[in-house]
Amino acid sequence: MKKLMLGNAAVASGLKDAGCKLVSSYPGTPSTEITEYAVKYKKDIHCEWAPNEKVAMETAIGASFAGARAFCAQKHVGLNVAADPLFTLSYTGVNGGLVIAVADDPGMHSSQNEQDSRHYARAAKVLMLEPSNSQECYDYAKLAFVLSEQFDTPVLLRLSTRVSHSTSLVERSNDGNGKLKEYEKNPGKYVMMPAMAKTRHEVIEKRYSAEKVWSENSDINTVEMNDKKIGIIAAGITYEYAKEALGNKASYLKLGCVYPLPAKLITDFAKKVETLYVLEQLDPFVENYCKTLGLDVRGKEEFSLLGEYSQALIKKVILGEEVEYIESGLEIPGRPPVLCAGCPHRGLFTALKQLDVFVSGDIGCYTLSSLPPLEMMDTCVCMGASISALHGRNIVRPDEAKKSVAVIGDSTFMHSGILGLVNIAYNRTNSKVIVLDNSITGMTGHQQNPTTGKRIDGEPTTAVDLTALAHAVGIERVVVVDPYDIPATKAAIAAELEIEAPSLIISRRPCALLKEVKHNPPFSIDTDKCIGCKACMKIGCPAIKMSGEKSVIDFTQCVGCGMCTSFCKFDAIKEGK
């Protein structure tokens, strides 16, 4: 029976039906739900959140070498973190099939850059499949395991936001079995040091040739001949856009395998059509390959290296057709994402604003503090960089160390912040690191992590003791504050900034959206006392707005955190109605 499934859920079903035994991932939009859906099959698949993508991939590698089918998923930038194991895994190959999902985010709906992960397939010489809808997410996930074992290679499954987060119909087929393959000791294959790796490199080049032959003949690279004036080469979601835009007005070569590319298939298709377009988001990966084949193709010159494609864009560029639409003529303010009502990060950043410090920032919900009205982040590059970059800054600007802090979420600290802290202790700067411990990985939608005391399925486990950890690496000063108490938080940070030693400040209060967090009744404004001075608006809470001359609190949003009360000099914000 066909069912509606999110692309990511379909991948998870594919894992189940391929007999995958282990899934280890680190969350990252738009890849996160694959692992969350996989937990539904926890009887058959062991699922876990790893502290970061490198650990996740290495866990999967261990399981694969031991003979199990294994999987890990990450967002595009996650593969940067796991790139080290990936490149050498390509040399060792696998035992049980190993599939690696990587989800790109053209248009940057929730990402810090727009990198194109297909380059990894070529750079690491690893086969890459790209589905274009949920059915293919399911089918290709299963196929990827077969190919992994057939060619003795990890297989990359490339997803994108619109495929991962679109829902369409899926029909599941027979279940695979989860039997372990034999493990045989084989240092020539599994111990990569120069002598062995040299031999393996030869194997890898031969493997590429074999995969190419497969790609030429595989039924996931398909030709559909219609009108021959326009020929389209496309993969993934772009294929769906092209089909919608052009229908029978074009012929198609749909690529299910984007690496290795089928040279002969492409060349034959090119011969059959008058004008050939390669439609691909981000980089001209397929287009440049076609050009090396000497083909006359059109692509990036008329389209774009930036952002997403769409059926409208394709219609406009290729057919010159544009759709009419109406506009309201109103001036419409933007609606950027905001820290939620009751978010503990708001308290911490309000204290930092009052202290007027330089903030070396990181990635998580708290990055939203860089937007008005808080505007309290100076830099943000990649996960973990806040701590190491503050250390670097403090070396070259030691006089400003007393006015500088690093901020990092609990999950991000575990992901890659820890080593930065070790470095501060080891190479001694007076750096002040604030961990925003909200007991969850917030930004990606509430995943457990090593500090929360729970595993992926909610089962209790050991929690990292951040204080003991700091002491163990050589940071003597550790202070814990409650960000809901803004004056106390400010005082504690001010005191640490004066001290000539590195400190770890833990700002601890669970995310207001967590189910187990009990809320107070909503606060309200005493309109007799409110003079409309707008002081309470400075905190930037989405539940507080002005209505005429007075402020009002939206009872549907307010969670009664009370952080706003410290801003009102007139005692106009009261508990309850």
């Binding site: 066909k2 929730s110 936001t161 829902t167 769409s310 303010p333 933007g334 950027p336 939608g445």
Partner: protein, 190 residues
Amino acid sequence: MTKAIMIVGVGGQGTLLASRLLGNVLLFEGYDVKISEVHGMSQRGGSVVTCVKFGKKVASPIIEKGEADIILAFEQLEAARWLPYLKKGGKIIVNTQCIDPMPVITGAAKYPENVIETIKKLGVDVTPVDALKLALEAGNAKAVNVALIGVMAKQTDIKYKVWTKIIKDTVPEKFKELNLKAFELGYNLK
């Protein structure tokens, strides 16, 4: 012909459940269905949009400017923001609730006045609904989404019973009664 319904609102208003319900109803009616949503960062108080497309065979899951047959707006400003996505002759159902975005809260921008009248004057078929009132009447402000689905359901040819069956199948047990009530209030709105 592929039909397109766009659900727009503010992160946290329950647009995802609305699209899921709608998707399951359309699937039950025998259509090919594709839904596109964006998760993650934009959930937190940001502008959110979900596309539901159905027909004999759907290719692209997204809706572009001038393509939506119906826009179901959970908030007035969002109705105005996404208006260009409406097809000529399309319909808008809009919740009369206003939620100030941060630039308005901080005073950097103004919430536009007379949004619904302005859209009506352009000749667009607009149905304004006080869905928060309906939801509170049903028992909880969170049921705004299903109340709005109720209003839209009335404007389709799909039978009442199909909607309520799918609501029963999709919604967790403890919210069933609330959502059925909210749906009914929306459906029977004059």
